[in-house]
């Protein structure tokens, strides 16, 4: 009987896959966003084709006590150890303030900062969860020129740590790097142009996409995934 077969199919399908869906692995995590760490440079597109860190700059995790720029847990983050990837060095003075970005909070043992084997900074986490924004200022007197500064976030409730390497140029001119060219400079609303990602569109701008015309409802810089048919709240079909 048809109904019974349907029901049987439903019943058969369930036990076969009950235990397949994994409980998501613990996600979490954090990195130094300013000055831009290596993973931040991957995520912001300053350094291309990084793989894992491009999508999850926060996930450079590994056992505590590592002495390089790779956390070690994920092979697709080994790129962060590759000094030949064209990392941009940020010009800094001898007093350097760093900002952390977190995607989830962990109780924190401490933060450590190293240049080579020398610990140049330590901040006790008091086993508390971080409260944004987390900024630390360290003194780099005694160092000059291009250096690799390794920041370590030691987690209080796991055996893990998160690693962020920053390429810095101590005593370089100015406190900030020359901003990389961006595509987000305000431009007059293009009229009748074809929609493109990474373009600043003002409210009222019109574009064509897939043979249709759209009017911008909310000024924004366009992104892959915000194509007019996928973002009716940003683009009204006209």
């Amino acid at each position: 009987m048809k109904l019974t077969r349907k029901a049987a199919l439903v019943m058969a399908a369930v036990p076969a896959i009950v235990f397949i869906t994994p409980v998501g692995s613990a996600s979490a995590h954090g990195y130094v966003s300013s000055p831009p760490s290596r993973q931040a440079q991957c995520a912001s597109g300053v350094v291309k084709n990084c793989g894992g860190p491009e999508w999850e700059p926060q996930s450079n995790e590994g056992d505590k006590g590592r002495t390089d720029c790779w956390g070690g847990d994920r092979l697709d983050f080994q790129v962060l150890n590759d000094d030949s990837r064209g990392w941009q060095a940020t010009n800094v003075g001898t007093s350097l303030t760093m900002t952390w970005t977190f995607t989830a909070r962990h109780r924190t043992r401490d933060y450590e900062y190293f240049i080579g084997g020398t610990r140049v900074g330590y901040v006790n986490g008091n086993n508390a969860a971080p409260v944004d924004p987390v900024q630390h200022t360290i003194n780099l007197s005694g160092f000059s020129g291009r250096q690799k500064l390794r920041a370590v976030w030691n987690i209080g409730d796991t055996v893990k740590a998160f690693y962020s390497c920053m390429d810095i140029n101590i005593g370089g001119t100015g406190g900030n790097p020359t901003p990389p060219p961006t595509t987000t400079n305000p431009t007059p609303p293009p009229v009748g142009g074809t929609w493109a990602p990474n373009t600043a569109y003002a409210t009222g701008a019109t574009v064509t996409y897939g043979g249709s015309s759209y009017r911008c409802l909310q000024g924004h810089t366009s992104l892959t995934g915000w194509e007019p048919p996928n973002a009716a709240s940003l683009w009204q079909k006209i």
């Binding site: 029901a7 996600s27 831009p36 977190f102 989830a104 944004d132 915000w226 996928n230």
Partner: protein, 200 residues
């Protein structure tokens, strides 16, 4: 007779609990009213889905609401027009996504609530909660910008992680396509925000 199938399916699903694959009979939605075609379907998800799809959508409902609250603050308080614009675009697109996801959960007969607990199971204390958002509201000027940009960068980073998990484990085609858009749009937003953070 159809009711029998639905009743059996429901019983099986109840037994299977977390981790089961659900197949809602095509066109019948959550309530089994197959003949009722009066309601115009919003961006519809098809009826075949698995537990990963449901988990992702429930977690995203919670995640979108927190992102809407945070972006709302920046629309009013950010000092740079670029940041205000980004916050406005995040706000409006996430509202659109939220209403779509809620319609999917309704179709699937799954609750909207529960996402916050799932976050705890899936990675510890979440970045954002009402207290963090209230504390951020008290900040102003450059201090607000710094807090907002870092919080939203982290918040959207968590969305990328959830989306990558859904792309790997999900089954429902509309949901995995949405996950692809989440990964791309959040990654694009993170690019813009990281640039803003490193170019004060």
């Amino acid at each position: 007779m159809k009711r029998l199938v639905i009743a059996i399916a429901a019983a099986v699903l109840a037994l299977a609990g977390c981790g089961g694959e659900a197949i809602v009979p095509e066109g019948q939605g959550a309530h089994g009213h197959g003949a009722n075609s009066a309601a115009p379907p919003p961006p519809a998800a098809s009826s075949r889905f698995n537990d990963a799809d449901v988990t992702f959508v429930q977690m995203m409902v919670d995640h979108l609401q927190l992102g809407i609250s945070l972006s709302q603050l920046a629309m009013a308080k950010a000092t740079k027009q670029e940041t205000k614009d980004l916050a406005g675009a995040i706000n409006t697109t996430q509202r659109e996504e939220l209403s779509m996801l809620k319609s999917w959960l309704k179709l699937w007969g799954k609750p909207e609530q529960g996402g916050a607990n799932l976050h705890v199971q899936h990675g510890g204390q979440p970045l954002l909660d009402d207290k963090v958002i209230n504390d951020t509201k008290e900040k102003s000027g450059a201090e607000f910008d710094l807090a907002f940009l870092n919080l939203m960068t982290g918040h959207q980073g968590a969305a990328v992680e959830m989306a990558l998990t859904e792309k790997k484990d999900g089954q429902n085609p509309e949901t995995t396509a949405y996950a692809e858009r989440v990964a791309n749009t959040r990654q694009g937003q993170i690019q813009q925000m990281l640039k803003a953070i490193s170019e004060p």
